[in-house]
Each structure stands twice: as structure tokens, then as C-alpha cells.
Assembly symmetry: C2
């Protein structure tokens, strides 16, 4: 993998954000500093950075995947209406990963546990 200015900017933008940004949010942020960065480049780099383990891809239902610079093991809660994401420190039973692996053959990925619901704000509407 070759160095590129754009890739560095993408990585920094995610790491500097506390919002679990989407690709579009990263793009909007970066346009201020690199006005002609391309959305495709943002997507491509978010993908390669996730695949190489430098970022975490949070596969989100309905609202577009989000990215996380915090590589420590943790889970996420998402509001299915507004798409907002919270970190949550849920301690799944010790053997959950093994049980899933045995029962289904699926290897659970980092950040792979997503809990969906409806947030207070959206419930009011």
C-alpha cells in the first residue's frame, strides 16, 4: 500500500472524530481542507483502512456504515430513525464468540455487535 495524502487525511478525520462518522460526513469534513478530494476516494480509503485494521467499520443497518478510530473492543447502539450511534460497554457472556462460531460457523468481527432501537429524541416525534 502506497502512501497518499488523501488516505492520511481520511484516517486522521476518523480518529479525530467522536461521532462514528459516515463516509459522507468524512467527505464533508475533508472538503474544507482538501477541496477537491473525491467521495470515491473517501470510500476507497475507508475500506482499505478498515481492511488493514487501522479503522473499524461499523456495519450499520439502514443508515450507512460508520467508522471508528477506537480499536478497543466495544459495542454500539444505533437509533434506527436518526442513525445516531453511541458506544456501549456491554459485556457479552465470555463464551459468546465461541458459541456463535460453533453454532453458525460465523467469526464475529470487531465492532460486530450492533444493537438497534429508537432513541428518546426520535420517540418524541
Amino acid at each position: 500500500m502506497k502512501y497518499s495524502r488523501q488516505r492520511e487525511l481520511v484516517e486522521q478525520a476518523v480518529q479525530a472524530s467522536y461521532n462514528h462518522p459516515t463516509a459522507a460526513e468524512v467527505y464533508e469534513t475533508l472538503r474544507l481542507r482538501a477541496p477537491n478530494i473525491s467521495l470515491g476516494t473517501v470510500y476507497r480509503n475507508l475500506s482499505v483502512l478498515s481492511e488493514s485494521g487501522r479503522l473499524l467499520r461499523l456495519p450499520m443497518p439502514d443508515t450507512g456504515d460508520r467508522f471508528d478510530g477506537n480499536l478497543a473492543e466495544h459495542s454500539h447502539v444505533v437509533c434506527g430513525v436518526c442513525g445516531k450511534v453511541w458506544d456501549v460497554d456491554i459485556t457479552l457472556p465470555e463464551d459468546t464468540r465461541e458459541r456463535v462460531k460453533n453454532d453458525t460457523g460465523v467469526t464475529v468481527s470487531s465492532g460486530g455487535i450492533v444493537i438497534s432501537g429508537l432513541c428518546d429524541e426520535c420517540a418524541k416525534l
Copy 2:
């Protein structure tokens, strides 16, 4: 809510399926019996049936939402590559819903806990 033949077909199709079908899969199934049912109708009815609690919407990352006629509390595991879904009987700590509610304000929905990973088959490729 007024009765409609199409809505009944949609509900039956999901309940009769053990595959957690997507909207498109329900549509393809129903076309055999109701050749000019519309995809929009399938989507609309899956939504209203989920909202009224007669089906469960499983918010799935990346692969399109799935629907479940089994209303009993259970969680799901999904392969992020092929999109296949398994039921899994994970007992989250008793207070998980309350903890999430207190920490984030999010009310966890039924079927809202989704664990993503990579299945054996896809790992081979």
C-alpha cells in the same frame, strides 16, 4: 387498517419462511401466486406489519433488512459478505435493555440485536 389480499399474502409468506427473507425474496415468492403484485406493495406491507407487531423487522447491515415471523425474543447472526442469517439464542445479561436505555436513551427493539461476522463459506473464498 383495512384488509387486503396482498397484505395477507405478505404476512403468510414471511411466517411460512424459515429464511428471514428480504423484501425482494418475499416479492419473488409471491409473484408465483400473485403475478402482478408490486414490489412497492411488498415493502409497504412489510413495514406496516412490522410496525403493528405482526412481524419482526431485522435491521441488517449492508444486505437489506430481513423479516421474521417468529416473534419470540431471540438474536441474529449475519454474515457480512453473503448476508445469510442465523437465529442464535444468546442470553444477554438481564439488565442489558435497561443499561442501554439509561446510558443512551435508546429503547432496544425486538430483534434489534444483530451480530455481524464472516461465515465459514465466505471465509474460504
